[in-house]
Amino acid sequence: MCEECGCGLPGPTRIDGKPAADVVSPLIVEPKPSGNLHHEHVHEHTHGDHTHEHPHVHDHDHPHTHTHEHPHGHDHEDETPRQTIQLHQSVFAANDRLAERNRGFFSALGLLVLNVLSSPGSGKTTLVQKTIEKLGQPDRIGVIVGDLETDNDARRLRASGANVVQITTGTLCHLDAEMIARAMGNLNARELDMLFIENVGNLVCPSSFDLGEGVRIAILSVTEGEDKPLKYPPLFHSADVVIISKSDLAVAAEFDRETALLNITRVNPRARVFEVSAKKDQGMDAWCDYLKELRAALGAALHP
C-alpha cells in the first residue's frame, strides 16, 4: 500500500512478544488502575476497522477528489453557513510532547540515547553489535530494536550481552515516542549508560518521529549510492551524525566518496561524519571514542 516503503497499516505493536499496552513503564501513566483491564480492545478494534475499510478506498478515491474540488470556492451561498476555526497546530505535536518527556527522563539519568536510522540492509544491526563489543561493558548498554515482524536482529544483539528489547510494529514502518516509553518498561534505565534505538529500516517514515533521543544517526552504506542524502533530505537533514558504512566495499561498489561527502554537507553541514566498516573494524575506534566522549559529557553535566 505504501509505495515509499512497502509497508501497510499499523498492526498491533508488541514489545518482547507482549501487546505493547501490557508493558508497565515508568514513563507511562495509565489512565486509571481500575479492575477493568481491557483497555487494549479499543486499539484492536480501530485497527480491525481499518483493515476492513481498506479495499474500498481505491474505488472511492478518485471520484471524491474530482467532485469535491470544483464546487468549493464558488458556491458559499447555497451551502450551510460555515465558520473557520484557526488551529495552527503541528500534526506531530502529540508525538513531540511524548518525545520531550522521554528526553527529560533520559537526561535526568544521564543516559545517552542514539536513534539509528537507515534503509534495510545498510548494516544497522552489525554496526550496533560491533559498537557494543568494542565499547565493552555490554551490561551497561541497552538496545531497543524495531522490526516489522522477526526478532532475528534482537537475537543477534542479545548475543553481545547487551540488554535488548524488541518492538515488533506489525506493518508500521517507524517507531514513535510512545513505543519507546513503553519499551523502557522492560529495561532498567538506571543501570544503563547508553541506549541504542535501532529504528525500522526505512529512510522516509522514521525521520518525522522524534523519539526523545540525544543523537540521531543516519547510516548510508557505500552500496546505496552517493545521492541518497539528496533523495532523502528530511532524514539526512535531521541527523546529528551520518555514518558511511561498509567502507571496506567502497571500491567494489564504485562508491564516489567525495560526492557522497559533498552531498551530506549540502543537506546537512553540521552533521558529524564517520566512515566505518564494522565487519573489518575500520574507523570504529574514532566512532566509539566519539560515543564515549558524549557519554562522559552527559555524566559530567549530571555530577559536576
Partner: protein
C-alpha cells in the same frame, strides 16, 4: 506507512477542535522538507475519518516551499536540487522554512447562524 499514523493525528486534532459540528474543510500546511506525501494523506484520510466529524471533509493542502539562507552571503533562496546558494554557490544553507506540517484551520458548519435563523 507513516502517513496513516499522521492522518490519525490530523483527524484526532480536528475532531478535538470540533467535536460536535461536521467539519467541511481541513487546511493543512505541508513543508517541502516535512517528509510527508500529500497523496498518501489523501489516500488514508477517507479511511481514518470514517464515522467521525471529519468524514467527507475536503482536504486543502497548502505546500510550503523550503526556504534556505546562505551561510556565507546570507541570501535567502528557495531550495534547489544542489542545496547551493544561487549567488555565491556556497552549499549547506540553513533551512528557514519547509519542515513544518500543520493543521492550519478548519471550516465547520456554523451553529450560530442556524440558531439565529431558528
Amino acid at each position: 506507512m507513516h502517513e496513516l499514523a499522521i492522518t490519525q493525528n490530523i483527524v484526532a486534532l480536528v475532531v478535538n477542535a470540533s467535536p460536535h459540528r461536521p467539519i467541511k474543510v481541513i487546511t493543512l500546511k505541508v513543508g517541502e522538507l516535512s517528509g510527508v506525501q500529500e497523496e498518501a494523506i489523501r489516500f488514508c484520510f477517507d479511511v481514518v475519518s470514517k464515522r467521525t466529524m471529519a468524514e467527507g471533509a475536503r482536504l486543502d493542502i497548502v505546500p510550503v516551499p523550503a526556504l534556505l539562507r546562505c551561510r556565507k552571503c546570507f541570501l535567502e533562496f528557495l531550495l534547489n536540487d544542489k542545496w547551493a546558494c544561487p549567488s555565491c554557490a556556497a552549499i549547506g544553507g540553513d533551512v528557514l522554512s519547509g519542515k513544518e506540517f500543520f493543521v492550519e484551520s478548519i471550516e465547520v458548519e456554523d451553529e450560530r447562524e442556524e440558531n439565529a435563523l431558528g
